[in-house]
């Protein structure tokens, strides 16, 4: 007969075994940790950062929460390097990085802000600033900026894009320019430099049954803004309305339903008739594959196409063999520009748990020109301070960087207004109504302007 064990004795043995395993685990883990521990952070401080760090006062403790959309996950490396500098004076401070997909990020932010638990330093889309400010979520940065000499190096257009109600609420984390990428084999004479040439090229490609020219429609309401900004009087292209709206009786009023708006729609209709392909928002992601698989001969989107090419297995050294880049070809007599860029902005929430001075210190550290210059050389985005461009050009392997920056000189920002998403949808709908030939150009811009007037409270 099998001898039965005394249950309590068996239980004691289990405890002893577990304790033994724990001790062994701690010993092995500790040894491995000690062996793998870096000798030092290895961070070289630049002049600005040194000033920043020495300005730090009472050391802070706890978890410092930083959030950003996953599309900018490359920021993680940058952020963690900058955080190591912050930790020199705040050794008990730990970073918590929260990355979300672009689709879910906005809703997640709204939820955590509404719950009073925002991240300490969220990166938000530039077009959300008015809405977030109106909801009382963001801290104005005017006092910090007034005492920051570096602020003088920021591009004025972008500075204006951060202002709402007379106050500045963020610092651009990154921006971009919108450009054409084209396969050289389909454009032996180079990419068209005028709208008229582009129409001729599209007709040639159609006749030869070759892949067509393709452009995104929507997002920053292009192609409308690319053409409109090229032909609209330059003095109108200023904040706050950027050619689309003007201040009347203290309120914004739509003015794009004039000859320039109508002509812009007529140019879009010409593009459609010539065979140029228009891609709607759900098709944006797939459009990169279309370009690299030569289903389209050229694509207009953002400078991040370089990173997409790398993702598709190409090397920087091969870029110029296959492709060229170009700004939007303006109609005859129009001006060349880089459309209206987007970008993401670092902000300080009013209800941030960490001291706001500390968050500002951190923003300053990683907004250092050398830091962001090196980062964007890898990520394919642009800084919005002039003095970082040299670093970017020096560090970037992308052969198109110089071109991108030359297009980038003439950018027009979007109107920073609370109702922008509804306003841009009205203009997008007008574009689609023209592209799908459901409305005439005149009718489309008039209907859109009338809708925008209603949205703006007229």
């Amino acid at each position: 007969m099998k001898e039965e064990k005394d249950p309590p004795e068996e239980g004691r043995r289990d405890y002893i075994k577990a304790a033994g395993a724990l001790v062994a685990g701690l010993a092995v883990g500790g040894a491995a940790g000690w062996l793998s521990k870096p000798a030092a952070p290895g961070v070289t401080l630049t002049e600005t950062q040194t000033e920043t760090v020495t300005a730090a006062k009472t050391p802070a403790k706890g978890s410092f929460v930083i959030s950003f959309p996953d599309g900018y996950a490359g920021h993680y490396v940058h952020l963690s390097q900058a955080f190591e500098i912050l930790q020199i004076w705040n050794p008990e401070l730990t970073p918590e990085y929260i990355g979300k997909t672009w689709g879910e990020y906005y809703e997640w932010l709204l939820t955590v802000f509404a719950a009073g638990e925002p991240p300490d330093m969220p990166m938000i889309d530039c077009i959300w600033i008015p809405k977030f400010v109106e909801l009382g979520y963001l801290e104005p940065l005017d006092d910090y900026l007034a005492n920051w000499p570096d602020w003088a190096n920021w591009i004025p257009t972008f500075k204006e894009g951060l202002v709402w109600d007379g106050h500045t609420y963020g610092i651009w984390g990154n921006t971009d320019a919108r450009v054409w990428w084209y396969w050289k084999e389909f454009f032996p004479d180079g990419f068209p430099t005028t709208h008229e040439e582009m129409i001729a090229e599209a007709e040639r490609l159609k006749a030869e049954d070759k892949p067509q020219i393709a452009t995104w429609v929507g997002a920053a309401i292009y192609p409308f803004m690319c053409i409109y900004d090229a032909i609209c009087p330059e003095d109108r292209l200023k904040s706050p309305g950027w050619g689309l709206l003007e201040v009347r009786d203290g309120k914004l009023y739509p003015i794009f339903d004039d000859e320039y708006g109508v002509r812009t729609m007529e140019y879009i209709l010409e593009m459609r008739k010539a065979g140029i392909e228009f891609i709607d928002i759900p098709g944006f992601g797939a459009s990169y594959d279309k370009l690299f698989e030569k289903k389209v001969s050229s694509l207009f989107c953002g400078v991040w196409l370089s990173a997409q090419a790398i993702g598709h297995g190409y090397k920087y050294g091969e870029f110029e063999t296959y492709w060229g880049t170009a700004p939007w070809p303006p109609p005859e007599g129009g001006r060349v520009h880089a459309g209206i860029p987007g970008g993401w902005v670092w902000t300080i929430p009013k209800e941030a748990k960490m001291p706001k001075d500390l968050i500002w210190e951190y923003i300053r550290i990683h907004m250092d020109k050398n830091f962001i210059g090196r980062l964007f050389a890898k990520l394919g985005f642009f800084p919005t301070r002039h003095d970082a461009f040299d670093v970017l050009i020096r560090e970037s392997e992308d052969p198109f960087t110089d071109d991108y920056l030359s297009y980038f000189e003439n950018v027009y920002i979007r109107p920073e207004i609370t109702e922008w998403e509804r306003v841009s949808k009205a203009i997008d709908d007008a574009q689609w109504a023209v592209i799908l030939e459901q409305k005439t150009p005149e009718q489309a811009v008039q209907d859109a302007a009338s809708e925008v007037a209603t949205i703006l409270g007229w």
Binding site: Y106, E107, L110, F113, A114, K131, E134, L135, G136, Y137, E277, F278, D280, I281, P282, G283, A286, K290, K295, V296, E421, R422, D429, W432, A433, I435, L436, Q438
Partner: protein
Amino acid sequence: MVKHIFSPTFFQFTNRRIGRRIFGKIQTYLYVTPVYAFIALFVAYPVVFLLVFSLFDVPLNLKYTFVGLMNFERLSRDPKFFKTFIPAIVFVGGSVAGQNGFGFFLALLLNRKVKGVDFLRAVFIMPWLISDLILGYMFLILFDAHGTINEILKTFGLQRVEWLMNTDLTIWIVTLANIWKSSCIVMAMHSSGLQSISEELYEAAHVDGASLWRRFQFITLPLMRPFIALSLIITTVATFNYFGVIYIITYGGPLDSTTVPAFYMYRWALEWGQLGYASTIGVFILIINIIFTAAYVKILLR
């Protein structure tokens, strides 16, 4: 402890008979209390909340202002909202008809005692397990201007069709995606119904010389009526409240041709940040769902 308090022994110190009588009266309520509590928390509370929200101007920071019936007055003057019912009729009508028709057909096909039928049931349920995101991208790949269907058309020398840029076609594409996704769950519901019908009824009818169609008409359909009613209610309400595939495949476009009321409500709530107005749209959707449900119950379960 609970058992001890509410058991008859609790009343022993007074009068055993009175105690039993009182307990007998309240015990029924005690048993159903958890169910009512659940309904109150997860059904009644959100509905009341929706109704209350619809009377307020509620920005995303939830600092609300009472506006009375102004949101309803605004909704009555919102032509874009009423336009959403045109695609909704196709989306809901097409989805409900397609899901129930195809689902019932599949259930009939699989209602046989043949080898491998359980495996086939498992295979057919798989679309239900696929996320909307993947389903959406599948349909984008199929119907893109350079997608699979156009490639097939091209091999036959036919013209490319811009499926997703046609305001008349897109709503049918998202409806097809929804039918493909959800027919299987209808099949599962109908399968359980079909299996509850006694084999003897069919055998008796067969002996009496009833044809296959007659057996279907006079045995299957009448006995399946409660299942069909339930399935119609569920698919109608679910589709009317659903916009997952629309979000991925068309994002309501082109030109709002696939913007259904639920997606319009979503945009007002989270994109345009007016939760009060979105709640008013939600109340409207709720009323329509109640009307649909009541109509089905009245017609099919009378």
